[in-house]
Subunit: 226 residues, 2 copies
Amino acid sequence: MEPLLCFPDPLPAELALALERAGYPWKAVARVEHADADEPEDGWSGAVVCATGDAQAAFALSRALRAREVPLRPVLLVIDTAHLAELELREDHFDDFVVLPAHPDEIGARLAHLFWRTGRGLRPELIEHGPLVLNLETYQAAVAGRVLDLTYMEYELLRFLAARPGKVFTRETLLSRVWGYEYYGGARTVDVHVRRLRAKMGEEHAHLIETVRSVGYRFGQGGWAP
Amino acid sequence: MEPLLCFPDPLPAELALALERAGYPWKAVARVEHADADEPEDGWSGAVVCATGDAQAAFALSRALRAREVPLRPVLLVIDTAHLAELELREDHFDDFVVLPAHPDEIGARLAHLFWRTGRGLRPELIEHGPLVLNLETYQAAVAGRVLDLTYMEYELLRFLAARPGKVFTRETLLSRVWGYEYYGGARTVDVHVRRLRAKMGEEHAHLIETVRSVGYRFGQGGWAP
DNA sequence: CGGTGTGTAAACGGCGTGTGAACCCGTCAA
DNA sequence: TTGACGGGTTCACACGCCGTTTACACACCG
């Protein structure tokens, strides 16, 4: 079995112990960039990302793993209770999570369940809303059957919005969750990317992304969600 | 939202608290057979099966739920560390599990992640009073099922009033709390916005915002049962 | 060096918003 | 009964915010 990608290096003893005990091979990386550099020839079998230390880096890593051409699965996020709220709006960056402190066997059980699930291919790889279809595997988007030639950031933005149809997001939220850094000057950046997306979707589907004046943007005219 | 099927009855206090806190409606059943008998017309939205008591019955229930013609999803299994090993070979009977004791928010986070995975999204945050429904996520308002096209300030004002039904607010208070600045000239501003709101709600629902002469405005009538 | 992807600056335009004034209506005193 | 008065409602209009749009600068990669 290929090793699990683990972060950070050194791995907290509690985690290392649990992995040994469950019998999973693993390899810890100290920095986000090493996830690619240290990757074995046959790839990682999955990832265990621990956010109890540098949460910022951990979230960045899990996001990067899912932004790959073929997203890495499964990703198990390790957090403490203080970070429970951070999970919101990051649902697509991990497949399961575990809250420390935890019984070593719990981590083993979660990994077992994850591998069982991914083996069955239970994961939905499509996001479909109205005429829009996003293929999470191939990184492609299509509207009314026509494939869109989206750039990286355009795809990321569209995927984020379409994964939560109806919900309104401020530019600040989009900047921090899609771009991944804190608000840092240009809120106009979001506007321009929305405009480019609308242009590529075509006149007749531009309304799929709606403007909520003085607030932000949302995907889909929220046909009333009760 | 349809209630979650919960087992057993009564539910452990720790679980009941977590469900309330996360805002999920739920209904506990005492025996396995009741899962069918007590099922609401629109079905269960999922299940939370607790195995800390009668583990035998709990596992039987989760298996029965998945053996249905249309298997019930998601199923969240609640266990203690003693039952971790029992999960093996039961992988297909549940979608996720939680080990007690756990932080109440962990249970909420797991449910949120499960509902996101199964494509139903989170339950929207709603303010509901009589015929009026405010969706805080989509920035939408509806009266008697009809969606209102409100502007930003109209929505903010209505949300402020509807969040505290029955309570009367002076124009000065509204200006400072909704608009955010100190009283600074125009109290007429509030009147005009109230009028626009009443107009958009329609003749038959205009009374939802009441005028309290010489004082201010309030949402809903004072004679309301809290 | 050309091409593409991405972020920033600036001009434009629509409409949300605040304001003043006219209108309406209940209350109260003469 | 009537006129004055206080306060709420309604209307119309102009200002300015905010999103759109266009153009450009820069980084990255072949």
